[in-house]
Every structure is written in C-alpha cells, then in structure tokens.
Symmetry: D3
Subunit: 250 residues, 6 copies
C-alpha cells in the first residue's frame, strides 16, 4: 500500500526525519511517500502558522490524488500535532486520513485511564486542548504541558532538550496522575525510544501510531465516508494561486 | 474607527453585498473597509474550501496591518459563518476580531433561551455544530438546519429561496422549541429584514451583530489579548507564494 | 435610546457610581436611567441576598415598563455580577436585557482563549461558577477567584484594595494561563482603568460591556424574543406587598 | 422531628393539598408544618413568578427560624418544581433543605436508567431543563414535556386533566425510552397514585420523595454544610419591606 | 421491611462491621440481612477485584430472591464504594437497589455545593471518578483523594489511620473548596462519627445514607422500573459453576 | 505474535465464528487463540449477563497469563460489544487490551464526523450509550439503535435478519445524519461484508478493527501502562470457586 505522509511545515530536514520515523515502523508492504507543502511556515507554532499549513496539506493531497501517473494514496497521515487540514483532506479522498494528535490520543486512551501531553511552546497548548475537546478525550487527557522548546530546536535535539522533556513528562505523570505520555510534536519522533526507556510508561509518538492505525484501516478496506459531511467537494471555481485547486463540474 | 470586513471567499458581488449590509448598520463614525482574499474559492461550502479561505483571511489582515500608508484596522470582522482564520487573525492584531458565527451565537443567547441556525448546504451543518461546541453554546443552540441552497444562489435570492428559508426556520422554531433564528451564511444578510417581518422572532444576521459588537469592544478600548495564546507569532521564515507572510526577527 | 440600568442592591452610592461608569461609556444618544429596588440588601454577597435582589429587579423593571408618562426602556442592564432577576426581566419586556456577568463572559471570550474572574467574597465564587456553567463558558473561564474584599469596601477603594485585586489577578493570569480578567462585581467599575494599565491585558468591566452590547442590540432592533420561554407572563393574581406586580387578564 | 414544608406560591388550597400529600407519607414522628409566603403569585408559571416566590421562600424560612417560641425546623422542603429559593434557604439554616425537583430527579435516577418529566405549561420546561443541567442529570433525564395545563387547573383535576397527563407520560416513556416519570408540579401530588396504577412504571411525586429524603438526612444528623458556600449570610442591612430580613452584626 | 445488605467482598469481619453500621441507623421496623458472596476477593481494591465482586453481588441477590422460604428483600444496598453489580442487581429485582457511592454522592449534593471523596488506595480513585461521571456529579464532586490505606487495615483502624484520613479530608476541604466529605469505602463506616466531630462538616457514610434512602423509596412503594433497560433478564442458559444462575423460560 | 481473543459468552459456535472473522483479517504473523469462559451466559443481553461475563473474561486472561507452557499473549481482544471485563483485564497484563465497542467507536470516529450503532436487543442500547459516554464519543455517536434480534439468532442469520439490520442502518444514517455504521454485536461479524456492499458507507465490525488496532499497538511495543490505575493487582486472597484467581504476595 502507498501511505502519503504529509509534513504540514516546509522544513525539509523535519520532513526527512518524520519519514525515517514512519519507515521504521511501517509494514514491509507499505510504501511511505513523504511530502511537504510548496509554501508556508518552516515550523508551526501557532494559529497563524496553522492557517497556511492547512492549505498546504490540502495542496499536497490534491496533487497526490490528481497526479495521473502515480496511483492515489491508500492512506494519508498528517504529521503535525495540530492536525491542520485534517477535515479538508478527508473531503478530497476515499482513503483513511489520520492526524497525529488524533492518533496519539486514541492510542493513549487504549493504554491508560489518563494521559498527559508534552509539547513544545506553551502558547500551542491551546491548540492541543481544543483538539482534545473536539475529539472527546477530555476525561482521558489530564493535562497538556509546554516545554517552550522551539520546534526547530528539536531537529538536532541535544541531551539538554531530552532532559527537559523528560523532566516535564515526569512532573506531568505525577501531577496529572497519568499513565502515559503523548508527544505533542512530530519533531519529537526521534526522542520516543529514549523517553520510553527513561520514563517506564507508554510514550506515544503520534507519527508511529498514525502510520500503524492507517495501515490497519486500509487493510480492512475502510476509508473516509463519502456519505454526508465528508462528501467530495462541490464543483467550484478557485482563483489566484489556488486556481488549480478548484473543483471541476462533473 | 476603521473596521476591516473580510469576506473569506472570492466572490466580489458577495463582498459588495456584505459591505452594504455592514454599512447599513455601522455607526456614522465607522469606516467599513471590505476586502476578499487574492486567491481561493468563490464560495465556502465545506472543510476543503475553508482551508484555503482561512489562509486568505490571514493574507488580507496581514496586508491591512502592514500597509504603511493606511492606519491599521481598529476592529476586524470575518464574514463567513465558519469563522475561517479567526484564531490566526487574532494572533496578528491587537484589534478585536469577530467571526459572524461567533457573534450570531452570542447575540442569540442574549435574546432567547434557545435558538436555531438555518444555513445553506446540509453538509456544512457539521461546521456550525463544531463551532457551537467550541464556543460553548450547546445548551442554547437547539438545532442547525440545512436548506441545501447553494451559497451563490443567495446572491440574487428570489422569492422561492426566501420562502424555503422561511419554511425551514418555522419548522426549526417549533421542532427545536427555539425563540430566535441565526442566519447561517453571510450571503443571507440581505434576507434578514424580510425574514424578521415574516417570522416575528429575532432573526440574527451575524454580519450586523459582529459589526456592532466590534464597534462596542473598540469603543471601550478592548482588543485581542496579547498575553499568552494570542500573542504575536514567533519570528519565522515562510516559503513559496507565502514568503511575504513570514514573521521577521525583531 | 433610553437604557434602564438596574442596580439590584439598595446602596445609593453604588447606584450612583455604577451610573457614572455607564454614562462614561454610553453613546451620546443613550440616556442612562439608573434605579435600585425599593427594598432588599445593601450589598449582594450570597444566595440569600440574591433572592431579594432578584425580586427587586423585577419590581424596578415592572415600574419602568408601567409608568405611563415615561417611555419604556429600549434596553436594560442588570448591574450585579450574579445577574439576579435576569430571566424574570426578560419575560416582562421586549427590550434586550443583559446581565453584567453574562456580558463580561461574552466579551472576554471574544478577546482571549481563556479568562479568569476576580471577585469579592470567596463564598460568592459558586454564584459566578454556576453562571459560567449556565451560559456555557466552562472552557473559556479558567478560574473564579475571591479576594474576600466586602462589596461595600469597594465604594471608597483605597490603594490597598486595588493592590490586593491586582495581586489576585496576576496570580490568576499565570496559574489559569488566562489572557483576560473579568471583574466580578459592579462595584469594581471604578477600578477598571487602573487595573488595565497595571496588568497589560484586557480587564473587563461587565457594566461597560453590558451597556455597549445593549446599545448594539437595540440599534439593530433586536430585543428579547417573545416566542416561547420568554413570552409575557400569564395573567395572574399577586398578593401582599407584591399585589401591584401581578399580571392582569388581557 | 419538625419538617417545614414551604409552598412558594400563595394558593392556600394548594398549600393545603400539598400538606395532605406530605402528611400521607411522613413518618408518624414527623410533624409537617406547611406555610406559604405572605406575598407573591397565586401560581408559579415562569421566571417572573419565580423571582417573587424565591423571596417568599426566604421570608418563610427566616420567620420559622426566628420565631423564638417554636423550635426551628429539623428539615425543610420547598414544594415547587422550580426549586425557587433553594440556595437562599440553605444559607440560613443548618437543617437539610430539599427542593422537589431536585428530590424527584435524585429518586428517579435511582430507579431507572432514564426518566422523563411531565409538567404543566410548556413555557416552564426551560426551568426544569436548567435544573437538570445544574444538578447534573442530563444523561438520566431524557425529556421534559409540557401539557399546557395551568397549575391552578390541577387543584380540582377532573378526569380530562388526568387523561391528558397520562397520555403525555405514555408518549414520553416510549419516545424518550424512559423507565420512570417525574411529575413536574407540586400540584400533581394528588394524581400520583392514579398515574402509577395506569402507567405501570415508577411515577415520582417530588413532594413525597423530598419529605422522605429530608427525614432520612435528618435522622442521620446530616444538615446543610456551613463550611463555605452555604455559610450563614454576612451581617447586612436590608431596606423597605424587607428590612426585618437583614442580618444583624454578631 | 427486609433490607438485603450485600458486602461484595468476602471479609466476614467487614460484613459484620457494615451490618452493625447499618443496624445502628435503620428504622426499628427494618430488618437488616447482611450477606457476602460465596467466592471472590477478601477486599476490593481495583478493577480486577471488582469483576469478581460484581458477579458475587448478582449471586447473592439471586439467592435471596429465589429462596422460597424467606420473603424477597424489600430493598437492597450494595456496600462497596465502586457499586459493583449495581446494574445487574437492578435487573433481577423490583425492589429499589442502591450503591453506597451513588447514595453518598446524592446525599452530599443535597448538603453542599461541592464535596470531596476520601478513599483508600489512590489506584482506586479512577473507579470513583468514573462513577462521578456516570452518575452526573462532575460539578459537585470537586476531588477524589486516596490515602493509600489498605481496605483491610480499616478493620481495626487505630488512631494513626483516623488521623491520616482526617488530614487528607482537611486538605481536600480547603484545596477543593468543598463543604462536605464522602467516605470512599464501606470499611470507613465506623470512623464516620469521629471524623464528623473532628471536621465540623457533613461527613457522609455511604452505607448509612444508602440504608435510609432505600427505606425512603421502599416506604413510598417505589422500586426499580421494569420498563425497558432494567427489565427482568431474558430466559437464558448459564454454564459451569454459574449454571444455577441462568434464567428459565417462562 | 499471539493474540488472545476472548468471547465473553459461552456459546462455542459464536466463539468459533468470531475466531474465523478474526483470522480472516489478522496478519499472517498473528496467531489467533480464541477462548470462552468456563462458566456464564450463552449470550450477553443485559447487565446481569455482563456481570458474569466480566468475571469470565478475567478468568480466561488469568489462565492464559499463568499457563507456564504457552507464552503469554502479546495482545488481547474482548469480543463482546459491552466490553465486559476490559478494565480488569488491563490490570493483569502488560499487553494491549481492546474491547470491540471501544475499537469500533475509535475507528468510526476516524472515518466520519458522526456514526450510528446498530445493535441487537433495544434493552442493551443503554450499555452502548454508557460506553459512548465513558470513552468520550458523545459528539461522534449520533444514535444507538436496537433491532430486537436476539444475539443467538445471529448465528445462522437468514436474509430476514440481514434485511432488518440493513433497514435499521439505513434509517439511522438518514435520521442521525451519520456517515458510518458500527455493528453493535460480535455476532454480526459475519454480516459486515454484505452490509458494506448494500449500504455504501463504512460498516465497522468491532472484532476486525480491534484485531488490527491490537496488532498495531503490539507492533510498536506499546502495552497497557503499569503506572497507576492499571498497575498489577495487590496481593490478595480469593475464596470459593475463585480461590485460584487471587493474587499471591510477591
């Protein structure tokens, strides 16, 4: 199967790192195709960045669907913890689409009665908290904690960064009475193994679980419902740079 | 005061119509400046359309903020019922920013114990329902009802369209036991007066209340908090067509 | 327009102070008529006080509606943070009626993702918390904090009182991760300016926003729905001192 | 023990009828003392009526507490389905205080997974729905249904009235998938027996369960907490007709 | 009346202690019949223990219902704070069935605006928290606190144990701003009196209130609804040791 | 990997059918070991049946963990839509444990904005509704619908049964405005394919998704957290038939 892994920001090193993480857990039969938008922020640390990133996710999935040559993806993963463009993506494909925050929350709730999220900038906690509410995990998610580490500083995360995240996670486990940690940024993929060993509780990397859940759904032939809310967009004219992304009359 | 009225879609007739509606209710001292994105969908009828529209809202507010010549807006209204780009907009201005769905819900909850929303395509009800949940109006909003009238068909709404909306509104008032109707599309602005006369209950046009609430907040010197979640974006490089929209180091 | 400003307690100095605050923000065309009940508590600091105050609000609005000479009010504001008699008032007028807690919560949720309330006696926090739940602001209101300053001590609030409120507000902003402060008592109106300068975040005086929101709704011709739950009371005999407040057969 | 039964409206026949109902279920050792306010509405069918009734409840409990001669009540029941003045009453006594809506909801949730409320005027459904939310019974209460029978028409309820209530109850049981009916008005006390026989499910009269629960709590020496939110009111001057109801300095 | 008191664990000393507590508060006309399962855990301190205990509760009630000689119980109380087997029990009897957690929460919410639970092992807090959610007391229950005292250590609770519970309760009252304490284990029955005297707030023993509420409901002829969700089980074959507990065809 | 598939009821044909369904979707490297309790109900159609089934699930997992010969399972699936014994099972293993209701809800919420559940006896709807609340899917699950088909009648489901389920599903999709159907009984596994073809929306068989999700979690080395709420049970003596299931001192 072909799994389209969309990194919503425009940092090639991060796209590469996320792709490595995805390939490390994907089934041998799964081809990971990692892409990033042709425009937008180098990292996503707020609502403003997300507005551009969501459009970038739509752009990339649209291109992957259209490209006559390649087959369309069998599954899609959006690798940014704010799940930007998740709903938009679901409208334009029959494949299952998973966001990594969503996948991380689902997985954590299967492993512990309560979990805590450890993320980057404190100002982005509100984004995760809104998703927790939207998805219905308010009873399971007992806390969202910022470390105020910048996303791009995760790319070459030294021991200090890891120690800082470990420290925040330990405090969260005890203060929140949580049993698992969800890593609140795709850029933390590379730290999952180390943190798991250090913390002794399930540490969940949304990228990894999103890939496995997407494989699971695709294997069962389950995809995004085209009945109702996620039906294919209505025919529509788009203008400006986005004109290629309109929807033709059928 | 200068009120920036952003129509998130790219239909100039609709931008014009909304501007007329806004000017009709604005205070004499309020200058309404109506804009629309330089790109994106002609109308917004789903999540995919919204993803582009949100970026368009960010683009327009950013341009309005930057343009050295003009003064920055004293208040901002986003005139699409999905409130696309609302959070993004709040990050990049100190002015108050209101979405018309948000404003409509707030107003309705001040006038009746329960209200119903009458909108366009049924497939977009989920967008309004999510906002209702997000903003906390689940006890006041007793129903969201689609008419399956296309947004652009509202531009020259004939009597059939009005009758259809009236009919849906009447059914909603009785089935939902509601006391007020919130119009679920900026394109319905022009129908508000007629529907009010016909229905005999408060019929709320989000554009009108958003304009008045924005004037109210601005008059009190109240604006978007820059403390915490809505703080100005972090310095960041943007790429591709969006490169002008990055945030310089300070 | 004529705006009836009802102070639910019987402290004339407070009625005067609140009226001053309202006049300072009202539009030139708005006539502020400030009244207080003919009976009841000098200040409202609990459920027992509120029970009498709510009846007092009903008394005053009824008198203002009836008085043949004067025109009936075009808008009504109830200036006590518990919003006593709000529902009762809405039944007996077609004008919009706003409580200051309600107005403060609505305004704060338009300016920040989360706000905190700073009020007087800790024992009254439960009243604000119940309103937060009733109105649907449980996700936006991140904390209600008592200062244990008596309401009447606000009348001639010295620097100690202000410092104490500022201190509580600072702690709330950081502990609650809030972006705005809602002042939890009409008696704090006079402190709003100072606290805004000191705190550097939006500080919301419910009286001011209630006046502006009431003006906004009235300007649009929007009033309390008479369809259903807020319909005019049924004809009814009242006895005792309340006999003038019954409702005649029509 | 002495149980103060307060009928918040001023209909002596209803006070008498409710007292009969209470005495019929009270323990032999329980003395039922039934009172009604010295002022206010003959029946309670909306928020406006309730505002006066709540003050009337406070008046009567205060008088019962003060009257040196008689001992203070050991328990208090407020016999109107809107539970007017419940919180106020709790502040001024150490005895347990129960509202009949509250008691009815608690009892129903112990007997069935879901219950429906059948009440009088449809316009009062909102009052019961608000209490359901306030008390936390939103998952158990599956519907609140109005019969549009006036409260005073229950006093000499003929077979038509009973048939109408039975019919509404039957529809509620099936449409709401409920297992029990809560009667939504103290005036329905006299119909409970008949409806129980006809419907074959638990039919709950709030007056009866409130009396028994109050006896239960009093028997265990449990009363309203004076720690925090329900502490005795602060010393305060009251004015006008309410001046006797202020609270002296201690 | 005959009240079946089921201790879901298999500790005879605890069954005896609970029975003593129940008899101390029961009406003279109430016969307390205390039983315990023929199998299962000596104490219940987790989900695994509860799974066996719930079956044990079903076993004991079934035996009590069947035993031709004795009359069936008029009311049932399940004396373990997790309310194990509560739903199962309700299916197989027409008598009212009360769990002690349920009864404790209901009672506390009648006496204070907020209460705190003090229980045994911290690992069991999640069980109480789930019940709080299930029953709808999330606004009233402001905290569930573990003492990490083992259930069986309560049997001969020395002063250290009592002091520890008192200390946890005091902290809860202040940190949670609560007005009452609910004891989170049937084994704490014997400590209720002492803690009440020491804390000066209502301290609620679920066993005592469950007994009194059960008496109250039974006295009114109210029992578990057999309409719908709690209807008598369908005829069914059971196998293995449970074969006597199947349900014969009728 | 070894996946323990526990059928909580004692119907061998159903255990066989479920095992077939699981094997049909499992990875080649996954060994499905299907078991059923040594005691209890032939089918689970209510709370009483569930009480025995939960203990049966605990029995079987305990046996599978203990049996020195075989390796312990790498993942566990509980194949009854009420998820009986789910929490108990998580306490006694480090492997991931999934219930089929839980898995079905998670999967559905990844594929549609809203889903409906179609189950067997209407009386069991409450069980699914409680799980929906417990797991946090109240916004996604738009309806739970009974067909009143007995569980055992699914074993040799003729066309009538399928037609009936299809009919209920069609009505649910339209009335609930849902985009996916979750089959509310493990016995419906065999009907999933047919219903998918007929309905044209995702039809989710909890057994299949639970198997794939369990494989996904196990593949990532993720298992039930032993930190806190799901920690291994405390040492404890069990009595009667359950004595082998106590927990030895370590």
């Amino acid at each position: 199967m072909k799994l389209l892994l969309i990194n919503p920001n425009t940092s090639s090193p991060m796209t590469h790192a996320i792709a490595q993480g995805a390939k490390a857990v994907a089934a041998p039969t799964t081809e990971i195709v990692a892409v990033q938008p042709s425009f937008g922020p180098l990292s996503i640390e707020g609502h403003y960045d997300e507005a551009f990133a969501a459009a970038g996710v739509a752009e990339q999935l649209r291109l992957a669907q259209e490209s006559g040559a390649n087959p369309a993806p069998d599954a899609v993963v959006i690798a940014c913890f704010g799940d930007p463009g998740l709903e938009a993506a679901r409208e334009i494909t029959r494949a299952p689409v998973l966001g990594i925050a969503e996948a991380g929350f689902h997985a954590a709730s299967m492993l512990a009665t309560g979990f805590s999220v450890v993320t980057t900038m404190t100002r982005t906690c509100i984004i995760a908290e809104r998703l927790v509410q939207r998805y219905g995990f308010e009873h399971q998610c007992r806390g969202v904690h910022g470390t105020d580490i910048a996303v791009l500083d995760l790319e070459d995360a030294g021991s200090t960064v890891i120690d800082q995240i470990e420290q925040t996670a330990r405090e969260a486990l005890s203060r929140d009475r949580s049993g698992a940690i969800v890593l609140g940024c795709a850029g933390m993929t590379t730290l999952c193994q180390t943190l798991t060993e250090r913390l002794g509780v399930p540490v969940i990397d949304g990228v990894a679980v999103a890939v496995k859940f997407a494989e699971a759904l695709a294997a069962l032939g389950l995809g995004t419902s085209k009945h109702g809310d996620y039906a294919t967009p209505l025919p529509k004219v788009y203008t400006g740079w986005a004109s290629p992304f309109g929807w033709p009359k059928r």
